[in-house]
Amino acid sequence: MSKPSELVQGTLDMLVLKILALEPLNGWAVSQRLKQMSSDVLGVSDGSLYPALHKLEQRGWITARWKLSENNRRSKFYSLTQLGRKQLEKQAADWNRLSAAISGIVKLKEA
């Protein structure tokens, strides 16, 4: 199976929001979770994750706090804000509509 070369625009934001909606995590954990959940299909590089996190924070969708992690390291934890939750709902709804439409088209039988 080939990897999609680039993530559909804006999809990374939605994935990150979704992951953070489950529990607050630090950057490294988010990258691990992305890899596990998408079974490496998406292949998000750690390089694009951090700018995305900062952008989301700047928009007020997620918020960051320095906390001690399980193994007692100071680490920056991100969590979803009220605004972020609304944004996630909106993006997810958009995504569902879009994917339903696209898969509908893809499933059309060729004459």
């Binding site: 630090n26 590089s45 750690d46 924070e57 007020g60």
Partner: protein
Amino acid sequence: MTFEQWLYTLPLRLRSRFRRKQVDQELEDELRDHLEQQTKENLAAGMTPEEARYSALLALGGMTQIEQRCRDARGGNVIDDLVQDLRYGFRQLWRSRGFTLLAILCLTLGIGANTAVFSWIEGILFRPYPAVVHQERLFALAGTARGKAGPTPLSWPDFLDLQRSCTLCDAFFVSKITGSTLNVGERAEITRGSIVSANYFDAIGVHPVLGRGFEPGEDVGSDAHPVAVISYQLWRNRFKSDPQIVGKMQRLNNVPHTIIGVAPEGFYGTFVGWAMHFWVPASMEETFESGGYKLEDRGARWIESYVRLKPGVTRAQAQEEISAIAARLEANYPATNRGRAIRLWPLWQTPFNNAGTLLPTLEIMLAVVAFVLLIACANVGNLLLVRSFARRREMTVRLAIGASRRRLLKQLLTEGLILSTLGAAGGLLVANWCRHALVLLLPAHSGVAMYLPGEIDWRVMSLSAGICLIATLIVGLVPALQTRNLDVAGALKAESSGVVGARGTAWVRSGLVVFQVCLSFVLLVGAALLLQSLQKIRTASPGFSTTNVVQTGVSLISAGYDVPQAETFQKELMDRLRALPGVESAAFARVTPLGYGSYSSTPIAVDGYQPPPEEQTTVDYNQVSPDYFATLGIPLVSGREFTRTDDENAPLVAIVNQTMAARYWRDQDPIDRRLQVKGRWVRVIGVAADSKYESMRESPKPFFYVPLLQDFVRGPALYIRSAQPLQSISSALLREVDALDGNLALYETITLQEQVNRSTSPQLVAVTLVSILGGLALLLAAVGLYGVMSYAVAQSSREFGLRMALGAGTASMFRRVISGGLRLTAVGVLCGATAGLAFTRLFGTLLYNVTPRDPLAFGLALAVMTITSVVACLVPAWRATRTDPARVLRD
């Protein structure tokens, strides 16, 4: 980005702007944390430490690059830009200090004038009583009488009935201005105070800092409770802040009062125009008011009162309830209340203090200062245009190296913001200096200056801030519009041609000047109208002579005279005055014409006159002594004056004025006819010419006079007719009064002309303010015209040089510039005249015998405007004639 998001992330933005180092450090820590965890993972997967670290870095894609991308993700920072723009703007403005100073000065004048007027409106009209709670629900209460224009005071019993029956109101209270000669230690001075209801201090939420306020019941009875609360100022200045003041005795109007309390600092009572320094309960009214005991007399209307509505009650609802109560009173007490209603007045229209008097003036001032602000903005806009032309190259370079037009616009607006903020700061200072300026325009009465403070509170501040923002937009947008015309390539290529956008600029600049001329022309017309009207009102005949008559009075009530004592004194004083050399005649009257006191009024009946059902037959009258008409110079049309024999033992008589004679006796002679006054029949013995009674602006109304001896009052006003100067009459009078009783104080002695002048002081205030601001506007417009013309001359030096080289004389150059300036003026004047016709209608209530379209005023304004324009164009025209053709052609 939504506003919510913006607000939410504001702290974040501020942090990344002002804590840049810390933010960068955190970013680094965050990435290092990631690297270390990844390395650990890699080690666990069996890599060598070297390998593990390298692979982790590789996955991340290089620390520095990621850091930069993260910073970029944070996006362009609005605050960053703003700080940068501010810094750059200040530098730019500092570089051209002359321009900056002039611009700030213009804006300071414009914003300062506005803020000053706002502060007056706030401090005099909207929230006139500092320290009084809930002024937004406070209304003035006054009566009206059918067929009589203007409000009347209320009677005490009516007030009590209102207080008892009104359910929509929180509190009713009385506050009636009075005065007293106050002797503390060596010094005696006239002090203003209020006669109040006992609930006064509780109702307004003011609590004495020492002692107590009045207790319920202290406003009941005749001279029953001689107690007083004094003002903080009086306590500090005259009683040296005596901590033991409560319980001490102080004579007020010669009656010892116990001082029971000291009002808090910053509380000046509830009267617009004067600061109050003592308060006595209504039960003491006889001591301070003429007319005897009035607390049980429903027909004696003397009180000034206020009402505070319950929260949520509208004025209309309260008015409805109060009208219903008034109607009930009318039905129950027809003898005193027929045709009487009671009305609520917003504080700014309070009929019995100076709020109502100053309202029309301040309304006009609002429009006038808005004009001045617009003119100032136009001037600054013009200055900025010239500068933006000079900065054309800077702008084009910035555009060429990739600045967006939006960014340039932001820059220009920021510069405008700096200018207008500095202007607003200056304006607040100006307004602060002007807080007490209104008082300077109004005459002091009896040596006591009026108290009309402006108030600069958050409402005034936010209005000024709003104005500042509008000014910023106007001032910043004018040059910003010019950047639209910038042609990057063209401007960079051909800098010397210097005509980029020139045509557009010239058009905008001329437009601004026309606008300025137009507005200042309107103000000039306004000033001319008001000036003319003031001159007319001050020279108009009030129906009595204003020259060679002085007005004064002796304070008998405050000296404790009873009626027989006063009768003797007044008779003796009159004899002595008549014997004085140079005194032609002298007379007493209860109420002075055009003064503050109110006339007695009575329902009348006339034999053979059947009033139409809706007509009100209440007429005002005055109590006057023999020789009153001779002394004041009011001609008698027929019949005779009162004489000394018209006393309490003689048949009752009256003299009516012409309007009254014409209305009630039609074409017949009223002499020897009967007139019913307060239920008693009196005989008409004379008809006097009409005169002015309450205001110079009133139209003729029925009025009559009764002899003072048949309706006696203590200490009436005194008139002396004499050709001698005021000073010598007043010292002679003082000698005579002293000879009779050394303890008596004289009221202020003034000429009747001064009395007329005082009654027209609102007109004087309006004229002065509009003239000052009109002059200011004219000056600003002249500066604007001068700027445009000098710039035009500088721009067309080539043209002038060519013309001169071809043989044009300096005179024709001169004419060219002047006529150019006059053309702009002419267009402005034309617009101004059109606008003026609409605007001057606002002056209606202040004008006296002058139509708002008075051609003389328009002509005068035109002349002043033309002369000013010519003067403004002289220097540029002179410069045009100095053009050196040789040099211009060489360049």
